[in-house]
Subunit: 289 residues, 2 copies
Amino acid sequence: MGEVSIGEFARRSRLSIKALRLYDELGVLIPTRVDGQSGYRYYDDAQLETARLVAMLRQLEIPLATIKELLVSDPVDAAQWITAHWRQVESAHDARRELADYLVNLLSGKESTMYEVATREIPERTLLCLKRNVDEPGAWALGKEFVAILRDRPLPKMDGRAGAMFSIYWGEVSADSDGPVEWCKPIPESDAKALASHYPELSLRTEPAHREAYVELPNDALPTGPGENPAVQWQLASEALRAWAVEYGMDPESLSLRPEDLGIRITYLASEPVTEASAPYCDFAVPFA
Amino acid sequence: MGEVSIGEFARRSRLSIKALRLYDELGVLIPTRVDGQSGYRYYDDAQLETARLVAMLRQLEIPLATIKELLVSDPVDAAQWITAHWRQVESAHDARRELADYLVNLLSGKESTMYEVATREIPERTLLCLKRNVDEPGAWALGKEFVAILRDRPLPKMDGRAGAMFSIYWGEVSADSDGPVEWCKPIPESDAKALASHYPELSLRTEPAHREAYVELPNDALPTGPGENPAVQWQLASEALRAWAVEYGMDPESLSLRPEDLGIRITYLASEPVTEASAPYCDFAVPFA
DNA sequence: GCTTGACTCTCACCTAAGGGGAGGCCTCAT
DNA sequence: ATGAGGCCTCCCCTTAGGTGAGAGTCAAGC
């Protein structure tokens, strides 16, 4: 029968002997027979297929613990897991590409055309809001919830930018800090109360007039799902705002780039009816004092 | 002046205290002052810019040792380095995407349409060859050299596939094993000697008739530069060939998927005049006994 | 001036996926 | 039976930090 030594098996599977011993120890790929006397490992020819699978999964940088689970699960489920995993990898890769481009521009001294800073006056306005303490995945869910609430119920159209919904990060959203995050939609002041009565889930509040510095986010950088970390955009946008503040002789601290202070806003200019995928424009704004 | 403690600096730079201490130790980012008595680290406000740069470079998974060098080098050079590095990252990512697709197809039980195996008869033919022991980067250089030799000197056109140049991997090409690798171009037998006299750098040999099993490589998977590792294609193609051999009841070993035996061939159907970028078709073949 | 609480220090150990080597058995072919 | 090469375990090393212990330090309030 096809019983081979570890060296031969390593050659055929294109895995190293060290790796095979580790996989044995971790229970990922256990030799069919281990000589009790000598401790020699013997593998069966039929294990080659598994070994090659493990090698390929490792090339995708999937952790051994996960591989171990994938091996015992249904292959179709495993395929789905890989698909989902790969989606995450792609999005992380896209974010890093964005960052690399930005860095190359920055270091080579070119003014990057992306992330140009502008300012705008925001008049006092009336908002319908949904505010909650959420963690990282919860922030995305909150946005979906807000969009779902607004959809299919009557809302008077407001001119483009003025009616754009936006989210405010009142605090850091991370593993150990949970916002809060608030989603808002401006509505005409005239019949605010009447409108608000259609949305018992949302609260009505008035936002004072103020000025904002903002950066338009590249369209392909919009988050399209949970865990699509917008951290890179957040970072690049605040970097741009900081640079802008310095250039105009402002104290960067007065821009309050830390959300604790005035709340960082992300504006979504969504077309009506609002859906998750309908935001053709998105910017990152910070009010300044 | 702007002298801040490590905690404050960590907050502003969005780096962890642990990371900052490590960067100090490794000489990547050294505090402007370290209290001799207490050992407390004090950073200058002006170091924030560097700190943010380090943070971004780390997000690109650039090793700290490299970052240290980038920080002291000319920014334009650094930008070029990043550009080159990112190209490598992109190509590795493409290879992994290929692999992920293959795996999902494999596990979900679909017949993958890529990597279909076919066989062909190769008649005895006369070849002009360039053979050398090369390591991984050398293999690419050898191909460029071969292409450069063939370019601009008279060669009778041969019908498409029959005249396609190809490379033979006579041995494994890796860090510790260096081939040899041979590049070949079929020429008409009739006036072989006359032709060969134009190419003193190349050797003339006759290849015996044989059969090959081969797999067409996806067009976007062609290596386009050094270090673009074709390892993934190599792997997927041999996987396909192995599966094919098993399906047809052949002993996979008789296919000699290890290059030591009969030599694995990669065929480039290049248009004339031959240039590095002119191969619209590429396959991976293994002779069988 | 003292206390308290927050901040910081060093040191040592941990992670994942192996690589490298030392010292000692094991197996196989001659 | 003997040498060569294969294999064993055990230990340390890598990267970029994270976690915690125990001790020292800083600044504010009293």
